[in-house]
Symmetry: C2
Subunit: 352 residues, 2 copies
């Protein structure tokens, strides 16, 4: 694989408690180009530096783009540990099909990622709760204003050392149950990790943030009845001992942390249901004292306890605004497997 050396390397962050999320980027990135008739070409590792785009480029006008998010960790032995990377590139190819983007060679980009990580290993933070966040993306790069799928694309992987996704760390989050705005419908792009889904969610997110909420809890677009997801996280509820997460209906992102949680819970004897769950069911359970826990799952936040939900102007406190037992067990287990503190019982970690 071609490697282009950077002239100067950046100063690495000295205080890992101040990393934030997605603000600092490493020295190198992996890139690869695509042209109709030629396929993917020019896979290389090059300095992470600005690239020139004509302002008539398709992605600026029609948002044809997809991405992924995953994390790498480093243990005391200096071993680089990547959590389920093959799942991300599989999902990326499913997103690609939905968004008329050419599929990638999963093996090739995995190799590219691993090589990039080896080069950038000194950028991987090691404090508890930190990681090297990996962002693979594809955007349409041809210059044209007709509304059509692109004829040229850029695949890239950029890296960012990160701390907690939420500024308040693991403290329970406050969710606003959104009953006006919608994120996605069946027949739409909700299950694809496409950049458009995030644009659509911005306004509701900003309005919720102004009111002091961390995230929006989306309901289904048609009936505004069933819980969907949080946009950056899938949702789980523990009701009367049953762990429930909304089933994948086509409008919900099939999260890899979601999938890992389901697998872990089942392997450890928990009753897990993937099914439709209405917001009324959640609220009734809360009223009856049966809503034991609620949490979100996602690569960025890993496992995030929910402490409070507001729906139609009323507040519903979950588990005394404290992190629940299953939530904590999942957080400890997944981060333990990721960092190597616990045995990788499911063969999820790729070690470099």
């Amino acid at each position: 694989m071609k490697f282009i050396q950077a002239d100067v390397l950046k100063q690495k962050p000295t205080d890992e408690s101040k990393l934030g999320f997605g603000k600092i980027f490493t020295d190198y990135m992996f890139t690869m180009k695509y042209k109709v008739g030629q396929g993917w070409y020019d896979a290389q590792i090059e300095p992470h530096r600005p690239i020139a785009f004509d302002l008539a480029t398709t992605v600026f006008h029609y948002a044809q783009g997809i991405f992924e998010g995953l994390k790498a960790f480093k243990n005391e032995k200096g071993e680089i540990r990547v959590f389920r990377p093959e799942e991300n590139f599989k999902r990326m190819n499913r997103s690609a099909v939905r968004m008329c983007i050419p599929e990638i060679d999963e093996k090739l980009v995995l190799e590219g990622l691993f090589e990039l990580l080896k080069i950038e290993k000194d950028w991987i933070p090691t404090s508890p709760g930190t990681a090297l966040y990996i962002r693979p993306s594809i955007v349409a790069t041809n210059v044209a204003l007709g509304v059509h799928a692109g004829t040229e694309y850029l695949f890239f992987i950029i890296l960012s050392p990160v701390g907690s996704y939420y500024a308040h760390g693991l403290a329970p989050t406050r969710l606003l149950v959104e009953d006006f705005y919608t994120r996605a419908t069946v027949g739409g792009t909700g299950e694809a990790k496409c950049i458009a889904n995030y644009a659509v969610s911005l306004r509701a997110g900003e309005e919720a943030a102004k009111k002091g909420f961390d995230q929006v809890l989306w309901l289904d677009a048609n009936e505004k009845k069933y819980v969907e997801e949080v946009g950056s996280m899938n949702m789980f509820f523990v009701i009367d001992g049953e762990v429930i997460t909304p089933m994948l209906t086509g409008s919900i992102l099939p999260g890899i942390t979601r999938k890992s949680c389901i697998e872990l819970l089942k392997a450890n004897g928990y009753k897990v249901s993937e099914r439709k769950i209405s917001i009324d069911e959640v609220i009734e359970a809360q009223a009856a004292g049966k809503l034991d826990e609620a949490f979100g799952t996602g690569t960025a936040a890993v496992i995030s306890p929910v402490g409070m939900m507001e729906y139609k102007g009323r507040d519903y406190v979950v588990n005394n605004n404290e992190m629940g037992k299953i939530t904590k067990w999942l957080y400890d287990t997944i981060t333990g497997i990721q960092t190597g503190r616990l045995a990788d019982t499911h063969n999820w970690v790729v070690k470099l």
Copy 2:
């Protein structure tokens, strides 16, 4: 306004019959930047050339962007004529609010556009059916991976001499009525001219194109019952003498050509209804011989007759696959006003 001279000017197209749509761009563009705390700044006219973007820029990851489309024409006297430009910048500000993008000073960007057009007047084609297509856009330009509205933006106007939007010109189009994929829902971003809406529509459009259709006719996302729009055009049906266009429910783009058609039709004594219209009503009218005409309206295509619609595997021919009377009258009237062939009875044209 600051002006940066280009070193070399491009060769202008010599054959106006081969312009296509959005493939060729002029020498200059208008740009303006935004930073939180500073507002919009650095409005200038500069050479249309590639601009450097970090690959962690918000628009590449979360598709935060909006745009507009309008046209300028030139008559024999060399007069530049712009069709309803103030309507576009009004709508752009409405889109901005929906997408958490800072609003622009409509007067300032109009002035910027007019100055740009004066500089680029030799690029305006004059053959029938051609125009200078104007594409104002705003994209989020700050470098960050958290899912939040951007803190920096780029506004730009680029120009492209264009011919017909459809390769087949004014020949009646073939529409595929889409009953699986969805474009937008009430509570979503359908009424904003945001780049995300176009990404969401790509897959259905490509599948329709493969089957030989020009466009997808979208139905409402909830019931898949009511006609919405075509993605690049609003829809009109003439049934038993009544001109019907879907009412603006929140998921349909409020087209400026749509609005102009309604105003023209009303001023000329036609019965026009903005109301919900189900696909069943359209099909029943066709079966009863009462679907006199169907057409789409949009800046790019102006007025486009519909000759055939396929719905659930059955074909429905409209008006013998010929352009109808009202369709032709609207096309002639709007293009007549735009180019100056007809009197500008509604004061729609800005002359430079």
